[in-house]
Amino acid sequence: MLKALSTRLLQHLISQNSWASNLLQPHAGKSLQINVSFISASLVILENGNLAMAGETNVADAKVTIPPSLLLRLLAKDEAANRQINIEGDTQLVAELAKVFSNMRWDYEDDLSNIIGDVPANKIGTYARDAANSVKETSVNLAEMLSEYWQEEMPLIAKKRHVEQFNAEVDTLGADVARFEKKLAKLTKSIKANLDNGLLKN
């Protein structure tokens, strides 16, 4: 039943964002599996450009694996984190779905207007937006105040540019280690070959 409900929700969102079905239609019949830690979900693209949860025995055309350590960086919209998502299979399909999900918006006011009418729905929408903005502004002010205090007055947290620099250095180190491992493997292989041919002595 969860699949049926999720499918209905996905299709409702697609119907509110009709541009998305045009993007997805060329990929009809293809499916994508998303793995985040131990949670896994499979989506399938239907012939009318709609999305549905895949069935019990679906074989995915593309797999996206997001390590749990990347989640916070992705939520913080760190571009370097995007490059570390592991994608296997049809990359074009993954790119198209990423585009759809990042631009999709839920028009809750429209949904509400079907139940309580246009005017009250618009009023509730306006109040909700004002409340959300006010909460957002207050939270940003508070966070800025605290971060300034913890960065300047009592250094407890790192500055953004330092974290980004650290992340970039970790990425570079990772790439260097990978290159070093490959060189080491190549060197070991060539030494072994020379030993086998008797060109070197033990």
Partner: protein, 254 residues
């Protein structure tokens, strides 16, 4: 699974009719009698038996079909026409839905309901094992709660595959194998409560006893998936609904 078709003493093939074994040429007639008997109260009984869930299962089948305006849809064993009605709205004036059933009584109920709903959907009495349509004609073929009543399921599936266009989808909505921990409760419900409700509501306990038995004789999820693959469909996948009480299978013609 046991073989579905065995030769009898006269050299003719036997098949099952619920838990009974009957000659192949008698099954269609016997199934016809069952549905003739329940036709007028079929939807009411479905609502009572499934607590209204069958409507949700059918809507889910429509959502998964990927049908869009202008498509051609064939509703096999469509009976009372509830699926055809939903499909007709989806495909619009440029599309086409054809409602078929082997049983005249069921088809008459469906045809009348279509007309009452202001929909002009052609209703054809025909056998799913010999479909009177050209090859590569439909974008979607659906059979909901009908396949288990067919004598030669393999022939029927092959026919459905034949009339589909390349890229077209076959959807089979049918009772299936329930999740094991629930099987005892489901048995009590099907063999005790179901015939009792049939007796009270449709005054026909025997027909509902047949429905319960035919559900048990129907292939499980994986077997039906293999049968669809054998019929020439690809990328066959299924969804379990209500813990496997019902399964929706979908396969593509490629």
């Amino acid at each position: 699974m046991t073989t579905e078709h065995n030769p009898n003493q006269d050299g003719n093939q036997n098949t099952h009719f619920g838990f009974k074994t009957v000659a192949e040429n008698e099954k269609a007639k016997k199934v016809g009698e069952v549905f003739h008997s329940v036709a007028s109260k079929y939807d009411l009984m479905n609502d009572v038996m499934s607590a209204g869930l069958h409507r949700g299962w059918k809507r889910f089948a429509i959502e998964i079909s990927g049908i869009k305006a202008g498509d051609k849809v064939l509703d096999i064993a469509g009976g009372s026409g509830d699926l055809s009605k939903l499909f007709a709205k989806k495909v619009g004036a440029d599309g086409q839905v054809i409602l078929t059933d082997i049983n005249a009584s069921m088809l008459a109920v469906g045809r009348d309901r279509m007309l009452d709903a202001g929909l002009s959907v052609p209703a054809l009495q025909c056998d799913a094992e010999k479909l009177p349509f050209p090859d590569n004609h439909f974008d979607c073929v659906i059979v909901a709660f009908g396949l288990r009543n067919m004598t030669h399921k393999d022939k029927a599936l092959a026919e459905m595959q034949r009339v589909l266009k390349v890229g077209g989808r076959l959807l089979v909505l049918e009772f299936s194998k329930v999740w094991q921990p629930l099987s005892k409760i489901y048995d009590v419900y099907s063999f005790k409560l179901l015939p009792f409700m049939g007796k009270i509501l449709a005054k026909d306990a025997e027909s509902y006893q047949y429905l319960a038995e035919s559900i048990r004789m129907h292939p499980d999820q994986e077997t039906l998936k293999q049968m669809m693959t054998d019929a020439g469909l690809s990328k066959v996948d299924y969804y379990n609904l209500a813990a496997g009480v019902v399964a929706l299978h979908k396969g593509y013609k490629t």
